[in-house]
Subunit: 125 residues, 2 copies
């Protein structure tokens, strides 16, 4: 937990960008599509429709979301589209995760600005 002062905390500009990428990742079907793209060396046609058990139009919509988030690009092949992953938009999210991990768990944080009270016990909710 040392180097993170070299990395400036993402400001409200980045909040929207990070949230957009996270939103694209926030559906199990889209995670499955990404895993499927990872399991092949970068290209698939409509095998994705078989992989997830949903209608073709639904899968196309999920692919549209992934593409508009920049996570997936589609190169036009024959009548097919060749989909592949583009990691560049993940940098800010990865950085945020790194910052969170860099600070360790909540047990490391001595609880804060109460004048004269006892130690914080791990109470949730």
């Amino acid at each position: 937990m040392l180097g993170q002062n070299a990395i400036p905390a993402p400001q409200s500009d980045d909040a929207n960008a990070i949230a957009s990428v996270a939103k694209a990742l926030s559906h199990p079907v889209r995670i499955k599509i990404i895993n499927f793209l990872l399991s092949r060396q970068g290209c698939i046609g409509g095998d994705i429709v078989d992989e997830v058990g949903l209608a073709q139009s639904t899968v196309s919509e999920h692919l549209r979301i992934l593409k508009s988030a920049g996570l997936v690009v589609g190169a036009i092949e024959h009548p097919r589209i060749c989909y592949s992953l583009d990691p560049s938009v993940l940098a800010a999210l990865k950085d945020l995760i790194g910052q969170i991990e860099a600070r360790g768990g909540p047990q490391d944080a001595p609880c804060c600005y109460t004048p004269g009270s006892r130690d914080p016990k791990g109470a949730d909710q």
Copy 2:
């Protein structure tokens, strides 16, 4: 509604877990809250309500979402709650991002299984 219920897809469990965490990160206000928690050494009371410009009940709801995703824990202090970050649930998402980044951009992937066609140009929409 018979989609991914009983499908024996390999990483089905993982997909749900990753999507849940990503969903908690998929709103700009929640990213701002996380950034605010990062900017302090782990603890705040209701300063979050001042930071984001929303109603107290709305902020409480966002905190509830972050807590139920496991990203934030709250230790009860005086009348306040001491919030802090818990990085442990981020491991799977971080791993997925690492896998995507490890494979490089789509330009590295020679496009796939079309028998005798030319190179794929970057056609996106």
